[in-house]
Amino acid sequence: MADTVTLAVTRYRPEQDAEPTVQTYEVPYRKDWVVLDALNYIKDRVDGTLSYRWSCRMGVCGSCGMMVNGEAKLTCATFLSHYKREPIRVEPLSYFPIIRDLVVDITDFLTKLKKVKPWIVREKEKPLAEGPSTLRPGSGQALLGTGEYRQTPEQLELYKQFSMCINCMLCYAACPVYGLEPSFLGPAVLALAQRYNHDSRDQAATERLERCSEHDGIWQCTFVGECSKVCPKNVDPAGAIQQYKLAGAVHWFQSLLLPWGTK
């Protein structure tokens, strides 16, 4: 590549644009620059009107997801040098309503997330005062207590990968089912439901399964698997959903044959 690179960036300002347009910008090419660095260059030196979200620049806050040459990417981890042909197209994440330029509305995800109860549910809580297994707080003395929920490394391993979701929305932007059927709970929400189902401290797996088996849940997934491919954190939502379907089928079968045995 030459010393500069051209970015073709989606622009949309609802006050003045009936629909999104494309604006091209020429920015310096540097081999250690990511797409986000190029956007920041534009914002700071060329055109202060370009809007996008970003924050940590280390792939963990989940803010800077965009479509780069048609693929859902974290722009902070996508190097300019990866692209051989110009212009590099930068667009807002697919399937979400666009608020402005590269900024999309993710309210839908937050509404759905809450529906699957992504928190630990227990009938009865251990009192904190009993302390972690090796300490009684307040005493300064380390003594055996019973306040902690023990969880072996093997038990942790069962849900760990699903807990790595950074809510970056790349999986939704890659999911053709979500594109066609916006009611679909979607990959990240279902993976996060599994994260709690598989946690040995939780007791609401059956309740979540029933919720996720409704019309907008697991059965909508046609196992395209794009969600797992684009996930920057190696979460496997497609796998989570397949596991879930199996559990759902078993649950349905049991409730049919053994209606007294599933609660």
Binding site: M58, V60, G140, D199
Partner: protein
């Protein structure tokens, strides 16, 4: 937790939301505070307002762990002593005692809420060593501790129906009347609507201000907003001269490589492959990590050692400045993948280097503010109704240098304390009255004026911001002198002047990030002035504040906190407050012995 639906103020053309307690900032401290309010009194209307979705907050980037005494061979007093000596005796010891006492229960609470703590084979919570700590007491979730804590808190928050959220709202000023904080004015980022949000108590949990420096681990959002909001409202900023440089950041990006690399046994090597820390009174090199020794020394001493090594010409040269090597190859792939997977991921993705096979280039990087909004042990500021917790606050437990893994615990302990105190205060207060709404109108006009300024004016945001960052880097970095600080103070005054003429390209009301950048720059300039003024006013060297023109610690005159208040001309005025000493009289900081 639904969309916010406060009561509108019918007599007022400006929409008004009203809450009992308003938490500004949705990171670890803010979410913990909001839950504490909800649990203290479920009838209280509590809301979290944040310029980003809460799970984007910078707590997410914390890696190494969170300290709380748990092992049989450890004690609360040992944690307190490590914290106090690590802070070079500037910590308030009553606050430290409360902190270490409440830390284990707070950490356990997070365990109950589902935080995926790394575990011992028997299922009990595992702990790792950390810099400056004499016992293993740092709880961790691999090397993504902050990420897991934040998501656990955020997801747990969703179950409290009483907690409302204003996501992507930017607070521009505090509303204050009759000596009491009664809410905020904020811009709804998606629509540009400027609105008053009244509250009987406000808790600032907005994080630090690392972005005033050019080279920082801090996310783009860390622009000192809450510090500046408090300062402008008359609440002083404490100990702002104490800025932590983390010894191991990746050159160019400033991405943090966690201290856990060293607690697991990583080495810092100069250009000759020599573990240079042995030359700086930090102990003898041993093959295995030794607590409070060498690479497990405190961050201030390690960052200072880098500069000395650089002066001796023993660092390496790179396109983004001098660096040294962090070597973790000898830990082996299995341990790295189990305990430091994020370090490997960051190195592979961002510098195309595999730390299993190659050494990691690192250099000190601005990381954390020990200073912040002056609060008491309950998170209360001197302005009635205003509370603060987390990095934006200064209680102070961190003194002149924070120990790694104390800040994540701090935001739980003091987030919860501030939440409880604000809830109690709010229960005794009346609804805010009309005068605060008049002030909200003034603020609305101020924002509109910025948006209306003609484009193409003499000053743009980015050059001013870069000049501020360069000024801070050169004057208020690892080593400082009175002369350079004096010059920096003058330059910041000029930048303030030029900032008044800044103009925007963007007039849109929809998601106008340029307007936010301008408001953030205004906040940062105020905070930067307090850092420089406080550093200039302290002619001694203590912890992270090293004055080469005054190299000794001066307990006779400066065993005290600085308090920066905004004077009538807008410049900071510095006063002092004695340090609270309970059981640990000032002594020498000894490492490697």
């Amino acid at each position: 937790m639904g969309a916010a639906t406060g009561r509108a103020g019918p007599k007022n053309p400006m929409d008004v939301f009203s809450h009992d307690v308003l938490v500004v900032g949705g990171g670890g401290a803010g979410l913990r505070a909001a839950i504490a309010v909800a649990e203290t009194d479920p009838r209280l209307r509590v809301a979290v307002i944040s310029k980003v979705y809460p799970m984007r907050s910078h707590t997410v980037s914390a890696e190494g762990g969170a300290a709380a005494v748990i092992k049989p061979n450890d004690s609360l007093d040992a944690h307190a002593y490590d914290t106090i000596s690590g802070g070079d005796w500037l910590s308030d010891q009553d606050a430290v005692e409360a902190f270490v006492r409440e830390a284990p229960a707070e950490m356990l609470q997070l365990e109950h809420w589902g935080c995926p703590w790394s575990r011992e084979p028997d299922g009990s919570v595992a702990v790792r060593p950390f810099g400056g700590m004499k016992a293993q007491r740092t709880w961790f979730a691999a090397d993504k501790t902050g990420f897991h804590m934040l998501h656990t808190l955020f997801q747990t928050c969703l179950k409290y129906e009483g907690i409302q959220r204003h996501d992507e709202w930017f607070v521009t000023r505090l509303l204050e009347d009759e000596g009491r904080c009664q809410g905020v004015v904020a811009v709804e980022i998606a629509t540009g609507k400027v609105q008053a949000i009244t509250a009987k108590a406000v808790i600032l949990c907005t994080g630090g201000c690392g972005r005033v420096f050019a080279f920082t681990t801090n996310a783009a959002i860390k622009t000192g907003d809450g510090m500046a909001l408090a300062y402008r409202a008359g609440a002083p900023l404490k100990d702002m001269e104490f800025v932590q440089y983390h010894p191991t950041g990746l050159p160019f990006t400033g991405i943090l490589i966690t201290e856990a690399t060293r607690s697991e046994g990583g080495w810092l090597l100069n250009k000759d492959g020599y573990r240079y820390l042995q030359d700086y009174d930090l102990g003898k090199p041993e093959p295995k990590p030794v607590l409070r020794s060498m690479e497990l020394g405190p961050r201030d001493r390690l960052s200072q050692a880098f500069v000395k090594e650089q002066e001796k010409g023993r660092t390496l040269k790179g396109p983004y400045g001098d660096y040294v090597h962090l070597d973790i190859r000898h830990l082996g792939e299995k341990l790295i993948d189990k305990k430091l997977p994020f370090v490997r991921e960051l190195c592979l993705k961002y510098v195309n280097l595999d730390p299993v096979k190659e050494m990691i280039p690192v250099r000190p990087v601005a990381h954390y503010m020990m200073g912040g909004i002056h609060t008491d042990i309950h998170g209360a500021t001197p302005l009635a109704g205003l509370y603060a917790a987390g990095e934006c606050a200064c209680v102070s437990i961190n003194g002149a240098n924070r120990l790694g893994s104390n800040s994540l615990t701090e935001l739980l302990v003091f987030g919860a304390r501030a939440g409880r105190a604000a809830a109690a205060f709010a229960s005794t207060q009346k609804e805010p009255g009309p005068p605060v709404l008049a002030r909200a109108h003034d603020e609305q006009r101020r924002i509109e004026e910025i948006l209306r300024r003609p484009s193409g004016g003499p000053e743009r945001i980015a050059p001013l911001r870069e000049e501020m960052q360069k000024t801070l880097e050169e004057s208020a970095g690892i080593y400082r002198t009175g002369a350079r600080l004096q010059e920096a103070a003058g330059r910041l005054r000029q930048l303030q002047e030029r900032f008044r003429r800044v103009s925007l390209d963007d007039r849109s009301l929809t998601f106008n990030t340029e307007l936010l950048a301008a408001l953030e720059l205004g906040f940062m300039l105020d905070v930067a002035e307090t850092i420089v003024a406080s550093a200039l006013a302290r002619p001694e060297s203590r912890g992270s504040h090293q004055r080469t023109d005054h190299p000794a610690r001066d307990d006779k005159n400066f065993l005290s906190h600085s308090l920066a208040s905004r004077a009538a001309d807008g410049a900071p005025r510095i006063q002092y407050l004695p340090v609270t000493i309970t059981r640990w009289p000032p002594g020498q900081r000894v490492y490697g012995k």
